[in-house]
Amino acid sequence: MDMTIEGGRTLNTIKTLKPLGGSLLALSVALATQNAQAASDAEAIIQNNCLACHTQEGEQAWSRISHQRKTPEGWLMTIARMQVMHGLQISDEDRRTLVKYLADRQGLAPSETEGARYALERRLNTSESFDSQAFTEMCARCHSGARVKLQRRPASEWEHLVHFHLGQWPTTEFQALARDRDWLELALNEMVPELAQTLPMDSNAWNDWQQQPEAPVAGSWTLAGHMPGKGMFHARMEVEPVSGEDQYALSLNGQYEDGTSLRGDGQAVVYTGYEWRANIEIDGQVMRQVFALQDGQLSGRMFLRDKDEVGADVVAARDVSGKSEILALQPAYIKAGTEAEISIVGTGLKGLPVLGSGVDVVEVISESPDLIRVRARAAKDASGVMVPSVGQAEGGRFAVYDRIDRVKVVPEFAVARIGGNGSSTPRVEARFEAEAWAAGADGQSGTADDYRIGFVPATWSVAPFDAVAEADRDVHFAGRMNSNTGVFTPAAAGPNPERRMMTNNAGNLKVQARVQDGLQTFNAEGQMIVTVQRWNNPPIP
């Protein structure tokens, strides 16, 4: 089953909407008509496909369906579950229509997704931590806590969810952290009220959000991003409305810091007024954008749809006449007493670039509204975190350091997964970066004035994490680390007759980064578990 919301097959088949009179007014009228059409289409789909089981409760209200709010991915998973478990027959196109309709009418306000967006953005190395031990042990024991945090229901619906869980997976109450307690009683009488209170169906945030005017999307955007294992990039993205509610055609044109191009076309849908989801075909691979549109910016993650550990943090701003904005500096640091080429990425950039005290712009190499390239020189005694400016625009972050104090491996803990070898699941890489920190004005490490310099080049290796890993030769069996890029490629899946007890190529490894700063060498360490395949891999983990 195609488990992306918009699907990947229509990528190059979008028909551009031809506005009747060519005027913006005509366009907006056409779009409004489409919206009404889409809503009645969705309602017809519900009437025809869902009412074998769900009960009509009102004009636009149905049992279960109308009493939950979710993200687009959440609604997709619900409908997909109806297909997989309950025999629902629905076309991909109708499903897309339904997801859009439900996410728009019963979505989450942006503030309601805060702190849980990592799950939508497929940041699968996130180590979750919740205040509620009951929640951690009851919900986040089997799937991400974010999956729950990205839903809103009244108590009656949370109660249905408990019954569904135990009915569908009867061993739930027999597993560790369940079999030692009266699981069903706790789930119904303690967890349900807690969820209904912390994740309620009715919220001011949602009521307020629905009153917000629609934010403009069409136009030209500048993107700034950073992809572990590959580096920084900047790009321009043209966004044009096309036929279909909140649908857009995109073209992306940019460049990585190593000079390789980042170019492709695709399509986007905006759900719930801010949930930007796009698929862009780049060099024959689909990259997915999961962004939130807020305060005129798009931010989130762009990743390979079919290999989602490969992705970039992205922030983007739209060209607005008279508005000037700095998105990022690339690189965002300079060593005191040296010269470097720095790119300032933004929109509407106009005026003199200033990088901060003690940093001189020696030369403006090139200049355009979205990219200014300069040669900068940092004075020997310059130090600290600067807020650069270009003309009236202030923003971005620029670190000046005299020496590195310490280096951290990011992420500190990661999971790679064996795969391939004829199995249904591909390998999942792990990607590491070395993050340099400065000691700050006091020269003392670990004090409040320490500041982050940024990601610096490193030489990478792995080592056994402990004696067991050494005895089992995990370094040999679990995969290979690319010493230049920090990208770890795990080994093949399946039992390995060469290993003790024929086990698979799992491993427990130290991830080691060596960073050279002048004559000084820094070593940093993280941990990586190379483990078995994630067999069940829904859009929200």
Partner: protein, 375 residues
């Protein structure tokens, strides 16, 4: 005139069906078991029940089972002739006559329309073989929602054939897993506690406190139990892990981590809760030695042997791969390891030396229970 084209097109299908039936009946005609002989039964994917001859440590015969595999929990009838198996995704119990591979008993755990009921390893046979007990966990599947129903203890007459319905049902605590019956007819069920049930009245008592145990400075036990092993020594043995604190500060950092077992002597009804050693590795199942009650074995990634009194590991064998379910022959000389893959490994109970493997036709045994019995 006869449509020859149509007839021909039907023929391969008919032949195929016939062929399948023949293969089945040939397999089913394997030799009957021999009286007084010692055997082991175990199930594996896709739908096999194997009988291993423990005199020769070789595969004796294989029976085909109906429906889907899993979990493959087995219980032998006291006459050593009928093997019962919980299968079909935890939803059905079948009785198989091992002499001729015929299915003689079948009970669907679901008792009504729109009910989906699973037994989580939880069934046992009465000491006289007349009754089968199953703890069932029903869920009502309504049109647009599910409702979990209270668990129940269902009692079946083992003579009720292929559409067996309970002769009695009683309320049961939730979270019940493995079960065994005592010689006196008492039904023991492992759940939050080891319960003691009068299967005629449904009255439930605690035989051995588990979650509610009051052992000073001990944390409540954690119990994983998927293998209702019918041991030659007639012991119902449940492994637990726990922590014993140094003092009333209940500091987990300085606590001792302990393995132990709860045991019901099924002949006498005597119970015990006994620590047998520190936790150094995990065991999925364990068994008391039939020839030395001071010895307990555990298995998962190693076969380990403990002196219970001394609370000391006295031997361990490295294994070719993980095994889940442990069994021993009646004289206590050999240990049989089953579960995962499709080979049974045999170890000398004294030296822990490996004696060999028995390869089984078919696939993974997964979490099937192996049972040693005498016909």
């Amino acid at each position: 005139m006869m449509n020859t084209k149509r007839l021909t097109s039907l023929m391969p299908t008919a032949a195929l069906v016939l062929g399948t039936a023949l293969t089945g009946s040939v397999l089913a005609k394997g030799p009957a078991l021999e009286e007084g002989h010692e055997y082991m039964v175990v199930a594996n994917y896709p739908n096999n029940m194997h009988v291993i001859d423990l005199q020769t440590d070789s595969l004796y015969k294989s029976c085909e089972l109906p429906d889907a595999f899993g979990p493959g929990v087995t219980q032998m009838a006291p006459d050593g002739k009928t093997a019962y198996i919980l299968n079909n995704h935890y939803e059905d119990i079948y009785g198989v006559n091992l002499d001729n591979c015929e299915v003689t008993f079948h009970a669907s755990m679901s008792l009504q329309k729109n009910e989906r009921t699973k037994s989580i390893f939880s069934f046992a046979i009465s000491a006289d073989g007349e009754e089968l007990y199953a703890v069932q966990n029903p869920t009502m599947l309504y049109r647009d929602h599910y409702r979990v129903q209270p668990s129940r203890l269902a009692v079946y007459d083992t003579g009720s054939g292929l559409d067996a319905k309970p002769v009695r049902t009683f309320p049961s605590p939730r979270q019940v897993t493995v079960m065994q019956t005592g010689e006196d007819g008492t039904l023991y069920m492992a759940g939050a506690e080891i319960y003691k049930v009068d299967a005629s009245s449904g009255e439930i008592d605690v035989a051995i406190p588990g979650r509610s145990w009051e052992r000073p400075l001990y944390a409540p036990p954690d119990v994983l139990n998927a293998w209702p092993i019918q041991s030659p020594s007639k012991d119902f043995t449940i492994l637990y892990t726990t922590a014993r604190f140094q003092d009333e500060s209940y500091d987990l950092n300085t606590a001792d981590w302990i393995y132990g077992f709860m045991n019901v002597d099924l002949e006498t009804g005597e119970t015990q809760t006994t620590d047998f050693g520190p936790i150094t590795e995990i065991y999925f199942s364990g068994i008391l030695s039939p020839k030395d009650p001071n010895i307990v074995f555990g298995v998962l990634n190693r076969l380990a042997k403990y002196d219970i009194e001394k609370q000391e590991l006295i031997g361990a064998a490295e294994l070719d791969h993980s095994y889940y379910c442990i069994a021993m022959n009646h004289d206590g000389s050999k240990v049989y390891l089953a579960g995962t893959f499709n080979d049974v490994a045999i170890y000398d109970a004294d030296s822990l030396e490996k004696l060999g493997n028995i390869q089984l036709p078919g696939g993974d045994m997964a979490i099937s229970t192996s049972q040693v019995f005498i016909r």
